[in-house]
């Protein structure tokens, strides 16, 4: 995963440094995420994630309710 910057520094301009903006550099080879596919998850991880989703939905409803109460839209306020 060598960058172009390293190649120039070490081989082309001894005693000088060439600094290249990332957008001007040759695209670097990254981790090939497409070939990896989905992450292997155990059943417990899956259950945890589903529980997390349920918790999140509940919390969103509670926050919404709290805001409605604070705004006095239900006829009373904390």
């Amino acid at each position: 995963m060598a960058t172009l910057t390293n190649l120039i520094e070490t081989k082309e301009f001894t005693g000088h440094f060439v600094v290249i903006h990332p957008l001007d550099d040759v695209p670097e080879q990254k981790v090939d995420t497409d070939s990896l596919g989905p992450m292997a998850m155990t059943t417990s991880v899956r259950i945890s994630l589903v529980s997390l989703r349920a918790y999140l939905v509940l919390m969103m409803l509670l926050v919404f309710y709290h805001v409605v109460v604070l705004a006095g839209w239900l006829g009373h306020s904390n």
């Binding site: 172009l4 000088h16 060439v18 903006h21 001007d24 990254k30 596919g37 919404f64 705004a71």
Partner: protein, 443 residues
């Protein structure tokens, strides 16, 4: 520093057939390091400073306006939290060259990817409404008609993004980030009590009256505004768009750390400004009114600086949040999504950005919205959603198949799980408070 520009065909040193490489020649190592840092610098500063958006100005100044300098220690405590979380995003972005939404979609599958995207887009849109509501409020206090000012700001926000140059957008936004330092002038001008600030920052404690429901709600809002879910998506996409390299990792970390330091100290300044209004006996309603109140006891200059900083904070927040929505949507849909692309090559990406800005700007021109309540509610919602967003990040950062040597070390995991547990505890307290309002007796 010798600063010659070097042009050479990339084919001379690489086998790929790409455009000529443009670099700058320097003679010393320190000049190389400085120039490299300046070239890498940007995403970390922007994500952190943009986090001090209109909602943050409101939340921090409310914290100061109600509790003086008593809650400064919470903000200081959030410095390592925000850095550790964003540092993980930096590693993930540099290693994969892809955005956060794309990673969740690819590694957890379509179902979780869509859920994460939906959460992000929902909270982002609500946050954008608050940004424009703050612009509306500040313009009104400055005597500018919001029906003219708000659309003008929206047009400006669209123009800085659609130039087809990442660098042009980044330079403009970094300039706006540096303007945020004017909060130091405000904090200095209101003549804060130095001893109280030091004590409030370094000695954890609760304000007189103890832990009331309102205080708990405000603490969760402070956490929610300092570490927000959109930041994860924004910085990773920004790093991918800027094409940061593995060799840039240490500079990207430094960029993120400096950004975190600036955002936390600026947040402290906002709280100090709020504290000054409390000292003068003003009741806090919103930051624009705070600016008017403080302007009355200092001078008109401070009033205008605070109002302009409110607008600047909202502009920074809007461009960053809208981009995080656009990048995430583009990644999941497989659309071209880069600020480097001209409008005609990434129409969907720019359309999402335009829709985010235009719809939020249009909504706030409808009169009668309870601004302060919406802002606080959105910050709390962000705080509630943050733990689940971090759990996906934590799972991705422990994915050795994906990240190899860039995966989390055991100490990273200890720190991050601690953060997640604390965030969950705060959100559970919120749930308990909402479900049983009398659990925490009022002062």
């Amino acid at each position: 520093m010798s600063n010659k520009v070097l042009m050479m065909p990339a084919a001379a040193v690489a086998t790929e057939d790409v455009a000529p490489v443009r670099g700058r020649v320097v003679k010393s190592k320190w000049a190389r390091d400085l120039l490299t840092f300046l070239m890498v610098f940007g995403p970390g500063l922007i994500v952190m400073v943009a986090d001090n958006d209109a909602g943050a100005v409101s939340t921090y100044s409310q914290a100061g306006g109600q509790y003086g300098t008593h809650l400064l220690w919470i903000v200081l405590l959030l410095l390592p939290v925000t850095y550790f979380i964003q540092e993980m995003v930096v590693r993930l972005g540099i290693a994969t060259g892809k955005g956060h939404a794309a990673m969740i979609y690819q590694r957890f599958g379509k179902w979780w990817g869509l859920f994460s995207l939906l959460d992000l887009e929902l909270v982002n849109f609500l946050t954008l409404v608050t940004e424009f509501a703050a612009i509306n409020l500040a313009l009104t206090k400055m005597g500018v008609d919001p029906r003219i000012g708000v659309p003008l700001v929206a047009v400006g926000l669209v123009l800085i993004a659609i130039s087809g140059s990442y660098r042009r957008w980044e330079r403009t936004v970094v300039f706006l980030c540096l303007l945020d330092l004017a909060w130091f002038v405000v904090a200095f001008w209101v003549q804060p009590p130095a001893a109280q600030i030091v004590r409030g920052s370094l000695v954890p404690g609760l304000p007189p009256g103890g832990l009331t429901p309102d205080l708990m709600f405000l603490i969760i809002a402070i956490v929610g505004t300092t570490v927000a879910p959109w930041q994860l998506f924004f910085q990773q996409s920004c790093i991918a768009d800027k094409r940061l390299r593995f060799a840039d990792l240490k500079w990207a970390r430094l960029d993120t750390f400096l950004g975190a330091c600036i955002t936390i100290t600026v947040a402290g300044c906002m709280m100090i400004a709020g504290g000054a209004s409390l000292t003068h006996g003003f009741k806090f309603t919103d930051p624009a009114q705070m600016a008017v109140d403080l302007g009355g006891v200092t001078n008109g200059f401070i009033k205008n600086v605070i109002l302009l900083m409110m607008i600047n904070a909202a502009v920074l927040g809007t461009t960053a949040i809208s981009l995080s929505s656009s990048w995430a949507y583009g990644e999941v849909r497989g659309w071209p999504h880069s600020l480097q692309l001209p409008l005609r090559k990434a129409p969907g990406f720019y359309l999402i950005y335009l829709l985010c800005v235009a719809t939020a700007a249009g909504l706030v021109l409808i009169p009668g919205a309870p601004l302060q309540l919406i802002i606080l509610g959105v910050q709390v919602l962000a705080g509630v959603m943050l733990p689940s967003a971090i759990i996906f990040l934590q799972l991705l950062l422990n994915d050795k198949e994906l990240l190899g040597e860039y995966a989390n070390k055991p100490w990273n995991n200890w720190v991050n799980w601690t953060i997640i547990i604390v965030l969950f505890a705060l959100s559970l307290i919120l749930a308990a408070q909402v479900a049983a309002p009398n659990l925490f007796p009022a002062a």
